[in-house]
């Protein structure tokens, strides 16, 4: 079948009444958690995992994907009206968009963010539709050595490019890898690092770690910082219908934002944050009146908001075709696939083609739903922002303990939740990025399995990773990503001294 035929079949899956319903639940929940500061898509999907085990995988993933897209739409509303980014991909919007809102142009900022998200999300989904089958064709020839090298590349880029310092990114990655080692070794059946607790034999569930790091860690951090506890909500002022001038200033930034965001999501290069910054800088440089930036320029909202939605579509490419998550949310999605006994990768497209194409088709539908939910109905959502913080976080923690307990029906997991909550708090205090830890946790055991499988095929010969051309090339890129920035800054500082 051709890609178009697959896509049409996908629409016949996605357009059933039940799946349309789940897509709607997903985009609505996504908008909700995007708007509420403190909960994001990764945490929400993690909390839903115990509950969704009763759904069919088709419906569950249609809901999750809608949730991921929806969170990107919703977070822009919070950024613009509250000056607190709803998610990390909206940090730039929180600056420029909030300035617009303060000048009474909040409605225009919301409109360009929502329409830009729609444009970028749709173009991104088209790119995903046609790119994914190509990568699948390539990936079908990958062996354990190639997969191991790819994971190494993802490790390096995610820890090196995310956050302010490479050392901290790597430290976070190694923390995640260490957590992933706890439990029975899958190849020899040997218990490792369980400290004698039988509850740890099956390893530490990624849901507990994610909920601890995101929900509990965030609650502890916000509560400890009085300056973060108060925020001023700007009222929506102006017309949601953009003027002719606003349209003409928005459409190019939307397209450029898409062009920047999609590849960054698709390559293992750091998810949704970096492309929004790049897009902002690009728009500032290209703008006719750059002095407006920093005082509420519409281009500074249109570009980054398109970039983060395109990046989300991009993130789905390596996740679905290679089983390689490049953002924290994608890592949780991978855990969701594993819960259903599914392994994303080239085989998924052959064996679960209904699921994959239904999921992709539902993304087109979800984008339309989100545009309707987020533009005319924005006034309803804004009311959520006035929920007092103490009630919001109280509810988040109650649902967190509920979700974690229902994984195994064991209160031991509640202790683990508190421990990882403390870790999340410490990481936030010292600016250790959380995403490398979650990705290390979920990819670490896979990397180890591929590594040892490759070595058992080569009968213990370590050179297998560098004698196979593809694997060698990927490892070389990973090494360059790790070393080159260090060398550059070193030579620069030498030159400065000389």
């Amino acid at each position: 079948m051709t890609t178009l035929q697959h896509l049409l079949a996908g629409f016949s899956t996605a357009l059933t009444l039940a799946n349309l319903g789940w897509a709607f639940v997903g985009v609505t929940l996504g908008t909700l958690v995007g708007i509420l500061p403190g909960i994001g898509p990764a945490l929400t999907i993690a909390l839903l995992l115990p509950v969704t085990s009763t759904l069919t995988p088709d419906s569950a993933f249609i809901m999750f994907a809608g949730l991921y897209y929806g969170a990107m739409y919703g977070s822009s509303t919070t950024s613009i009206l509250l000056n607190t980014p709803g998610e990390s991909g909206s940090i730039v919007t929180a600056v420029e968009g909030n300035l617009m809102a303060r000048q009474g142009r909040g409605a225009a900022a919301l409109a360009t963010a929502a329409i830009g998200s729609f444009v970028a999300g749709t173009i991104g989904t088209v790119l995903l539709t046609f790119l994914a089958p190509l990568i699948v064709k390539l990936a079908i020839r990958f062996g354990p050595a190639e997969y191991f090298s790819l994971i190494m590349l993802a490790f390096v880029t995610i820890s090196a490019f995310l956050g302010e310092s490479r050392v901290k990114g790597l430290a976070s990655l190694f923390l995640g890898l260490a957590i992933g080692l706890v439990g029975i070794d899958s190849l020899t059946g040997q218990a490792r690092f369980t400290l004698g607790f039988p509850n740890l034999l099956n390893g530490i569930d990624v849901v507990i770690v994610a909920v601890g790091l995101f929900a509990v860690g965030e609650a502890l951090f916000i509560a400890s910082r009085p300056d973060l506890r108060e925020a001023r909500i700007e009222a929506v002022k102006g017309s949601l219908m953009m003027t002719k001038e606003e349209w003409s200033r928005s459409w190019l930034p939307w397209l450029r934002g898409t062009a920047i965001g999609f590849p960054f999501g698709a390559l293992p290069a750091g998810g949704t944050e970096i492309p929004t910054f790049l897009s902002y800088v690009t728009e500032k440089r290209l703008a006719r009146n750059p002095e407006e930036f920093g005082h509420g320029a519409i281009e500074g909202v249109a570009g980054p908001e398109a970039a983060n939605n395109a990046a989300v579509a991009g993130v789905l490419v390596p996740l679905l075709t290679l089983g390689l998550p490049t953002s924290a949310t994608a890592a949780i999605l991978l855990a969701a696939f594993q819960q259903y006994g599914l392994q994303p990768g080239p085989l998924l497209f052959q064996q679960e083609s209904t699921l994959v194409w239904g999921l992709i088709a539902s993304l087109y539908i979800g984008n339309v739903m989100l545009l309707v939910l987020n533009l005319p109905l924005v006034g309803l959502w804004v009311r959520l922002l006035s929920i007092p913080q103490h009630l919001l976080y109280g509810a988040i923690l109650v649902f967190s303990t509920l979700g974690v307990y229902s994984l195994n029906g064991s209160t031991f997991d509640l202790v683990l939740l508190a421990i990882f909550g403390a870790l999340g708090f410490i990481m936030r205090r010292t600016d250790l990025p959380v995403a490398p830890c979650v990705i290390g946790l979920i990819l670490g055991p896979m990397a180890e399995a591929h590594f040892r499988r490759a070595l058992s095929i080569s009968q213990g010969d370590l050179s297998v990773f560098v004698t196979q051309p593809l694997s060698a090339a990927i490892l070389a890129v990973a090494l360059a990503a790790l070393v080159v920035p260090t060398v550059i800054s070193w030579t620069r500082s030498r030159r400065a001294v000389a």
Partner: protein, 155 residues
Amino acid sequence: MRTLRLSADAIVGIGIALLGLAFAVATARVDVQPLYAKVGPTFVPWLVSAGLIVTGSLMAWAGLAAPPPSGHEVKTEWRPVAWIFAGLIADWLLFKPAGFIIASTVLFFCVARGFGSRSALWDALVGAALSIGAYLLFRYGLNLNLPGLLAGLWR
């Protein structure tokens, strides 16, 4: 008189390095059958231990080399942190014996305190309403097995 104040980075870096040491010690104690000796279940743990020690030390080093805290950075309040932690511990202790609803109400109350709410009775009521709602939804709506109210009395 200047007192030595370690930055948070230095403390956490040292902590990560120590965790790496602990992992190394634990790795040394995993029995390896000679059959798997070359790349067995301890190979990757050795790498991860080394990674933790190196990155932790580098982070601590950078933290020590950085200029001492100027005293202008945002202050951390510890009372809210203690409230939330107390709530989590109470939730753990009460979950089985007192049931989900009571444990969650206590947790909600403590978190609300931690975020500086001053209306104690109102928080307890909202917490109880939320917990009962969540219990009914998950127990009957989604058929999840939760310890009920005062284990055994109401299921």
